[in-house]
């Protein structure tokens, strides 16, 4: 129970920062933010983790009047005059190395569903150098890939139609058993305009969410069972076919005369387009007698 709660909080904090929570979930997250220091710390960490992504966004000048608007609403004095500018500035200069260093993360982080790879055995020097180079190249490849993804995400912003089919395909591959059960509902959603999507989650969304999850799991289970039944039928059919083929082969070998003419080896071979020389005896000729002479 408590572990479930922690896991949920980790995911919630991450999604709160990412910006994918709906109105009600955001409300719940903000309540937590005010009450739960641990949750607030998780949010801060995620803001630091993703914070530098803003560097990729092109600046846009706001209307010139905006500053006047803000200045007019400034309260007389800010509430917390505690640090002197010089001190903070010096502090910043002294600590550039710790800047955005998530090494001392305090949180009991999410248990990944993906199990981490086991520690590799110590490798000989040369091999390790090779691996170093390989890893560096892989990092560069990953980096380039992400840059392309950023550019794509920034460019297509609203309409993600290009990635649509691909993403759907990947998602389907990831959880194959869900596909048949959820395919119709995804069709429904695709038809619904974006703005109307939000109101459906109005009301006690928090209470509804676990139930919906359970429903989804149930559906997945049923779909999986249906899939399994199908595969059993196919396996049974294939076994029957193999058995019949084996039977036929046995008859060909040991009692070809008892077969109906349509199943005689010559007929079958002709049917398959294998030329059969006229006069070749259907039956394997008896071994020469000389074999038994001695």
């Amino acid at each position: 129970m408590s572990e479930d709660m922690t896991i949920d909080h980790d995911g919630m904090a991450a999604e709160y920062v990412l910006g994918t929570l709906d109105l009600d979930e955001r409300g719940a997250a903000q309540t937590l933010l005010a009450q739960d220091a641990e949750f607030a710390a998780k949010v801060k960490l995620w803001e630091r983790r993703l914070g530098e992504l803003h560097l990729m966004v092109e600046p846009v000048e706001p209307e010139a009047h905006l500053w006047q608007r803000i200045k007019a609403k400034l309260p007389e004095l800010p509430p917390k005059p505690e640090t002197k500018p010089e001190e903070v500035a010096i502090g910043a200069q002294l600590q550039p190395a710790i800047d955005f260093e998530p090494a001392h993360e305090p949180e009991p982080t999410l248990k990944p569903e993906v199990t981490p790879e086991p520690e590799p055995e110590p490798k000989p020097e040369i091999e390790r150098n090779h691996e170093e180079v390989a890893r560096k190249t892989a990092a560069e490849v990953n980096f380039e890939s992400a840059i392309a993804a950023v550019e794509s995400a920034l460019a297509s912003h609203g309409a993600a139609a290009a990635a649509k089919s691909e993403a759907a395909k990947v998602a389907a591959e990831e959880v194959p058993s869900v596909e048949p059960a959820t395919a119709p509902s995804s069709g429904d959603k695709a038809d619904r305009p974006v703005v109307r999507a939000a109101p459906t989650s109005l009301g006690s969304n928090l209470a509804v969410a676990p139930a919906a999850d359970a429903g989804a799991t149930d559906q997945q289970l049923r779909a999986a069972k249906r899939g399994l039944a199908g595969w059993r039928a196919v396996a049974l059919l294939m076994s029957l076919v193999v058995l019949m083929m084996a039977g036929l082969a046995g008859l060909w070998k040991y009692a070809p005369d008892r077969l109906p003419s349509a199943l005689q080896p010559v007929e079958v071979m002709r049917l398959l387009g294998i030329p059969v020389e006229a006069g070749v005896p259907v039956r394997k000729p008896a071994p020469p007698e000389s074999q038994y002479d001695e």
């Binding site: 092109e58 800010p78 998530p102 990944p112 981490p116 993804a149 920034l154 759907a168 990831e174």
Partner: protein, 181 residues
């Protein structure tokens, strides 16, 4: 823009703001407003709403400047985080209250910056994001820059919401794990 102001300068300005220095605040605004506006506009997608968010964001920055910790993040990242939070709230609220179409054209969406401006933290983050499958990279980044709700994203990407949620959370976990190593 921010290019002309170093993090140290912005940190100094933020510290001055805690003393009630309006002139410093004006300089801080001038140095950062275009960046914040670019981020906010992507999320709320309407200039009038973006201006409202900017007003709230800078008033909040004015009153909470003392909470900024230069050991934890860059000044701009801290300010962007504040603005993003308010922009996402606005985006969710406006989606509920009115169904006005987005006034921003897709084509007028601001683009990406040249990569010379990337710092080490961002390079590290992008390398980790790049380890995800391409579709999940894009899903995550689209979620971040547009701050779409899961419902909106599921419509955009044509993925059932429960799959999208699972996929997003898995991506976040993997990025988190990767950043630790």
């Amino acid at each position: 823009m921010t290019g002309s102001s170093t993090p140290a300068e912005l940190t100094w300005l933020l510290a001055a703001v805690t003393q009630g220095d309006v002139a410093a605040f004006e300089r801080l605004y001038a140095a950062t407003c275009a960046k914040l506006y670019g981020v906010v506009l992507r999320i709320v997608r309407r200039h009038d709403l973006a201006a409202d968010v900017m007003e709230h964001a800078y008033l909040q920055i004015w009153s909470t400047a003392g909470e900024f910790n230069p050991a934890q993040s860059s000044p701009v990242a801290w300010m962007v985080a504040t603005a993003r939070r308010l922009a996402i709230d606005m985006s969710r609220a406006s989606a509920m209250s009115d169904a006005e179409p987005e006034v921003m054209e897709e084509s007028s969406s601001p683009g990406a910056l040249p990569r010379q401006q990337l710092n080490d933290d961002l390079k590290r983050l992008l390398t980790c994001i790049g380890r995800l499958e391409p579709d999940r990279q894009r899903m995550l980044l689209l979620a971040y820059y547009g701050a779409f709700s899961r419902e909106q994203l599921s419509v955009k990407l044509d993925i059932p919401v429960n799959l999208l949620k699972a996929s997003l959370r898995r991506s976040l976990i993997e990025v988190q794990q990767c950043l630790k190593t």
